[in-house]
């Protein structure tokens, strides 16, 4: 059971994620962005709830809608804005774009690449390094409904099961892969059930309920930590904006968005906290103000940061030492 303080913590991270995202979207509309970017609106409960279930030594390999996981793991909003804006202080120091390349092994975060779903296999390897060294650590990764059609999904699940790896994957089933709806992607869209054919635990969860995501992820992570093997978690949600910033997503029926809007993970959690007496308007407003200030400051610092020195373009291709 979560304490009230933990609940407020979850709320804080979700709100920070949302606020970051809204600020980012607004900046890009104003022409203050660089290249493209991805909104994660609607995915806050998944990235935050799942990342909250990890211990500090666990490894996480987020995908492109998991902003909350980066933040919660200790990657500052400033560094992430810096990445989006190609600044030298950005996570990749201007080398990678938007939410790609945001790895930081000091924070136990593995960076994302476009090619889907490579984080699955790589994070499985991280998990196997824990087995190798008899460490009680777990690796967690995320993937999408779209990415689940790729062969690497199958290869990774199969190996994870055979090797009984301390590994958890969360499939963020947000009903679309870019413009492609589920029924054009798979005939039986019960992704969690696929786990059984690998001999792996599989569970489906409401991806808009942060505590539910936290609960199933915790259970999976702790089972993995104790040698109980991998789990596939399917978290159902909806991508509330376009695929990427330029995409108006006209292909998504408006009614679908409206019905999901009522289930907004941040707003429903806020209402729940009030209803359950976990907190009051004053406290929640104070959090909102804190979050807004943090985001504003992160943006200001990132925008003020320098672009990288072109003389460094060839540095860092190889690790030396």
């Amino acid at each position: 059971m979560l304490t009230n303080e933990q609940r407020l913590t979850l709320y804080y991270w979700m709100l920070l994620t949302r606020s970051f995202d809204e600020t980012m979207v607004a900046m890009w509309k104003q022409g203050r962005g660089l290249g493209g970017t991805f909104s994660q609106r609607g995915h806050e409960a998944i990235s935050v709830g799942a990342a909250y279930a990890l211990e500090p030594g666990d490894v996480i390999a987020p995908m492109h809608r998991d902003l909350g996981a980066y933040l919660l793991r200790g990657m500052t909003a400033e560094r992430i804005f810096g990445n989006l804006l190609g600044r030298s202080g950005g996570v990749s120091a201007g080398r990678d774009a938007n939410l790609h390349g945001m790895g930081d092994l000091g924070l136990q975060i593995i960076g994302f690449i476009s090619h889907l779903p490579h984080s699955m296999a790589v994070s499985l390897g991280a998990a196997m390094s824990f087995v190798y060294r008899s460490e009680a650590r777990v690796a967690l990764t995320f993937t999408g409904d779209g990415a689940s059609s790729a062969g690497l999904f199958h290869e990774t699940l199969n190996m994870a099961a055979v090797w009984n790896a301390p590994w958890v994957v969360i499939v963020e089933n947000n009903l679309y892969a870019y413009s492609t709806p589920l029924e054009q992607q798979m005939k039986v869209p019960a992704i969690a059930e696929r786990a059984a054919s690998y001999g792996m635990a599989g569970v489906s969860v409401d991806g808009n309920e942060v505590e539910a995501v936290y609960a199933v992820t915790s259970a999976a992570v702790e089972r993995a930590r104790c040698g109980g093997g991998p789990t596939l978690i399917e978290a159902r949600t909806m991508r509330m904006l376009g695929h990427a910033i330029h995409d108006g997503a006209e292909y998504v029926p408006r009614s679908l968005l409206e019905s999901w809007e009522k289930r907004d993970p941040v707003m429903t959690y806020r209402a729940r906290l009030l209803e359950a007496g976990v907190s009051d308007e004053a406290v929640l407003s104070e959090i909102a103000e804190r979050v807004a200030a943090e985001v504003a400051e992160a943006v200001a610092r990132a925008e003020a940061d320098l672009l990288p020195d072109p003389a460094t373009v060839e540095a860092g291709v190889y690790a030396e030492g």
Binding site: R95, D96, Y178, Y251, L307
Partner: protein, 343 residues
């Protein structure tokens, strides 16, 4: 990830006028549309290409409405599998045109391309008449995974053909040729040219021959050998050099496999000075083959060492100062060509 670029929106080119100008991307759409009307065996496959959406770059917007879902097939995210399926369709005599969402994702289908499709005819006369359309190249702040120029991998692989048009007219004519060719053809289209470049495009459905380079600018003093978006940078450099009295010949390779060896050697022998330019990584790139060819077969004619300009040996970086440092442009071409002319 299909990150946004400003090239992501169609702007409703008009067609029908035989002297009209089209953008590079409209020329691609037109080639596809005309060839689908002409040949019922041509079909399209790829991620997000169907429906009103019409693909990440809208090349096939409206196609499903005209040709039906049978001929405009949205695939799951499974490049290896759907390229393999295209190979099977092609073996049965269909002519699938597969869209990679970005050329960068062609590596996900690599195995199927280089091992199966490329070798089937040599091994057992299995002809594989597909085309893979691969939106390639950078310079538009898209980062390491939406800016790649992977043509060298395929030029090195026996059994493929590789095309890289630099103008709207070539984009149309070479795509028609690629579709009609009985072999697997990888067609690298240039994202930076999509909507920035307009040019005259014949309204007829006439294919241009594969394997023929074009002297885009005749000249005496040195030769620039290039392709894709770099053609326009080379031409800009040539104009600037012309002001200084240096007369550059510019050869657009257009097809990278088979290479037009006679045209390359002709320009090398004519001017005696060759600068090869491409946006792809320079190291062991297509330019190395061109330079080696010139060094081998035009040696006696050379008045200066063959020079190469290309991307650095690093992943394509995202941030503008880094990407600009990574990538050749008119300025760098001008500098290298000038040094070559003065050699």
């Amino acid at each position: 990830m299909g990150t946004g670029s400003n090239f992501g929106f169609a702007d409703g080119e008009q067609t029908g006028d035989s002297t009209r100008e089209l953008t590079y991307i409209a020329a691609i759409s037109e080639a596809l549309r005309e060839e689908m009307r002409r040949d019922p065996n041509v079909l399209l496959m790829g991620e997000d290409i169907a429906g009103d959406f019409g693909g990440a770059f809208k090349v096939t917007k409206g196609f499903e409405a005209e040709f039906g879902a049978r001929r405009v097939i949205n695939t799951p995210l499974a490049e290896l599998g759907f390229v393999g399926a295209a190979t099977g369709m092609a073996l049965m005599g269909l002519r699938p045109v597969v869209e990679m969402q970005f050329a960068d994702f062609i590596s996900s289908a690599f195995d199927s391309i280089v091992q199966f499709a490329a070798t089937a005819h040599y091994r057992w006369k299995g002809a594989v008449p597909w085309v893979i359309r691969a939106p390639s190249d950078g310079g538009i702040r898209s980062g390491p995974f939406h800016s790649q120029n992977p043509e060298a991998w395929f030029v090195h692989t026996p059994g493929l053909k590789v095309v890289a048009p630099a103008t709207p007219a070539d984009a149309k004519g070479l795509l028609l040729a690629a579709i009609r060719d009985d072999n697997p053809v990888i067609y690298f289209e240039s994202k930076p040219l999509y909507r920035s470049l307009k040019g005259p495009v014949p309204s007829g459905a006439e294919a241009l021959p594969l394997g023929e380079a074009a002297v885009v600018r005749p000249g005496r003093d040195l030769s620039m050998v290039t392709y894709g978006a770099m053609l326009h940078q080379a031409l800009a450099a040539a104009r600037r050099l012309a002001d200084e009295g240096i007369d550059s010949e510019v050869l657009d390779l257009r097809t990278l496999k088979p290479l037009d060896r006679p045209a390359i050697l002709a320009t090398a022998r004519k001017t005696g000075k060759v600068l090869v330019v491409h946006a792809a990584n320079r190291l062991a790139g297509v330019g190395a083959e061109v330079a080696a060819l010139v060094a081998e077969e035009a040696f006696e004619w050379l008045d200066a060492p063959v020079q190469r300009l290309g991307g650095l040996d690093v992943p394509v970086p995202f941030s503008p100062p880094l990407e600009d440092a990574y990538r050749p442009n008119a300025e760098k071409i001008y500098g290298a060509a000038r040094r070559l002319a003065l050699y």
